[in-house]
Amino acid sequence: MRKRSSLAGFALFLLTVVMVFALSIASTGAQDATPIPEPTAIVSDLGTGSMKISFWNGLTGSDGVTLNDMLAQFVTENPDISVTTEIIPWNTLYTKLQTAFVAGTPPDVFMLHASEIPQFASYGVLKDVSGWYDTNGGWFPWDDISPTTQAGMIFDGVTYGIPLDNHGRGLFINEGAFEKAGVDPNVAPPTTFEGWVELFQQLTLDVNGNNAASPDFDKENVAQWGFAVGEWPRVNFLAALAQHGGSMISEDGTTVTVNSEAGVAALQNFIDLVYTYNVSPPEAGFDTWQGFAAGAVAVLPSGTWFRNFAAEQTDIEWAAWPQFQFGPGQGTWFGAHTWMLPVGLEGEKLDAVQTLIQWVSDNQVAWAASGQVPARLSAQAALDPENYPSNIILGETFGAYGVQDIQHVAVQEMYAALDPELSAALNNQKTAEQALNDAAARMQQVLDRNR
């Protein structure tokens, strides 16, 4: 029995070591010099007015804090109205909205992306807000938003949304990483894939300081990556797809075209960056934001929302660049956070919600503090270049060559078919052609089913 006891003791020791390690990490979290930001309140009761508005949104990042600050100002100026905001992760918000509509208890106002308008509008649960635009005698100036944003608000000829912003993609560069690699951070961004590869190779350094173009480069021990393909691959791919002249579906909306020559070329660009040129880690298993914060990524493709993370949670000297250009043309993905109302909202509640949306729309310049680009062109023009360089640089690209998500009632289902295939290609499980053919086959089923 003594032998059993000693074995048992050893087993206990091993298990205890694992427990203590993991539990201590679970209880304390990461301890480093980076300041820990204030968590965003999930539910906030703002104001004490008797007219109560419930508002759901998915702004879980620092943009949620900015919006809550704006709403706090709104209820101060409108003391009769109080607002209860619930910040819910986007995917959960879609789920919760469905059940709320079925139960007949939707919020008074909610925020979705413009790309979700077709899906919810097709169910007949969104309110027509055409009358709020000045083209129909309302208060929101239709010409004060870009044509692509205008298009995103409409489904089947009806306008369902009031845009809050344009949020989209560009590049965030770590100037220190450039200098470490001997590259001038003020260099002009390349305009060809080959040019970008050359730059990324210069910026990718192994532990011995050799860059990826050097014959002595040790690709198994990279200390600094030039690029990171894992940062939301789908929207990177959508940008490159547009740059190569491709599209997700045909113009008549009946055929999936994501596996066209342009699509394969676009996806192959990213695969080559990982497996041919060794300038990016694979898509899976690499935390891009923390990698950037730790100085391990020189050029990070990310979104306007990255601004506050870079500014507040890293000590990195950074700058915003327009989106990469891998194809012959330009292109970058962007979307629009959009106010939407449930179809049954009427009376004084509707008036209060309209007051709220109008107030925020009139003060969209303040929304730039979230990192996003205000939807109104007049607000974009009023931004201070000192405080909002990334908003301005990226905002200009959205207007010039931005591409939005496809307008389709089953867009989420199509992306659910595409995303794993992109991941498979970027992790060397499938070729670009195989992955896109597999994605296209499933996406075509979705298109056919929803015709």
């Binding site: 048992a8 087993a11 427990m19 679970a26 789920t95 923390q290 289902e413 499980q429």
Partner: protein, 313 residues
């Protein structure tokens, strides 16, 4: 003889009198039992049985939650399911994950249970410590292990570096992602089976060990010929509930890998979530749920056939 007959008659009469009494007693006990069970049965019927039957019904319709038109499609959803290669990938991943996790959990929980029932100082403390991860939510567990398994900042790869092993991409390698998720789940969940095994171990009479030791049995023989056979009911319970539970894995891949890389950790419930709550196809999603329930039923039946046959309660 008359006296004997009288005694027999008297005994027979007493027996006849006692039988109705015993029957009445049993009936009364049964009624009492049903009364005590009634609240559970009522709530179980309303919130579980009804929902299950409703899901089966929905699986025969093209049912989109917000769409008023819900046409009957018969077995079309099931036909689509059996021709859907993503479904089969999800089933394969789920079976592999469940097999690894149930096996690992059972072995580690049994080892821990045997260890903490030894005469070791601080055994009570260790029981609490080993049980503690069970109290954590899947969100906390998932995020903690993402950090621990990270190639960039993970403590596990840091430890391996002292052995000269390069960082392993646990969550980014399609061959390692399921074992990594399984390891996380074992760490999180073995506390409860450990308690079951502790209870089972405490129910084994000590005199069996003493008799075996007098006959010269060593520690290994005691474990394999006394402990393990007498723990079969506990093992059956742990494995059956483990299979049912782990077949429904969702939180770990959802939080840690998003089902990737590719569809490397895409599980059945993840697929159900995608279908029902991302594509809003409740009819097809219900077919996925029903098919999963059938698969779980088959596996449970197999377990009862293999392990349950040899269980003495």
């Amino acid at each position: 003889m008359e006296k004997t007959d009288a005694i027999v008659t008297s005994a027979s009469a007493t027996k006849q009198n006692r039988q109705p009494f015993q029957m009445r007693l049993r009936t009364r006990e049964a009624i009492a039992a049903y009364i005590f069970l009634a609240p559970f049965i009522i709530f179980f019927s309303i919130f579980v049985v009804r929902a299950v039957l409703s899901a089966v019904n929905i699986s025969f319709y093209d049912w989109q939650i917000l769409r008023p038109s819900r046409p009957y499609v018969g077995f079309a959803n099931y036909q689509e399911l059996f021709n859907d290669y993503v479904w089969w990938i999800a089933v394969r991943n789920t079976i592999i994950f469940t097999a690894m996790t149930v096996t690992g959990t059972t072995i580690i929980a049994l080892t821990a249970a045997v260890a903490v029932t030894q005469n070791i100082p601080g055994a009570g403390f260790f029981r609490v410590l080993l049980y503690m991860p069970t109290l954590l939510s899947v969100g906390v567990v998932g995020l903690t292990w993402v950090w621990m398994l990270s190639t960039q900042f993970g403590i596990i790869n840091y430890g391996l570096s002292f052995l000269g092993i390069r960082p392993v991409n646990w969550l980014g390698d399609e061959n390692l992602v399921l074992p990594a998720l399984s390891l996380t789940t074992i760490w999180w969940g073995f506390g409860f089976p450990m308690l079951i095994f502790i209870a089972g171990l405490q129910g084994i009479p000590e005199h069996l060990y003493e008799a075996a030791k007098i006959d010269g049995a060593n520690g290994r023989q005691l474990f394999f010929h006394i402990t393990l056979p007498l723990l079969r009911p506990s093992i059956l319970f742990v494995t059956v509930t483990g299979v049912i539970s782990h077949f429904q894995v969702f939180g770990q891949p959802f939080i840690m890998t998003s089902g990737g890389p590719g569809r490397g950790s895409f599980t059945v419930i993840f697929y159900l979530y995608d279908i029902a709550w991302r594509a809003f196809r409740m009819g097809y999603g219900s077919a996925v749920a029903v098919a999963l329930a059938i698969i779980m039923g088959i596996f449970t039946l197999i377990q009862f056939r293999i392990v349950g046959r040899r269980v003495d309660y």
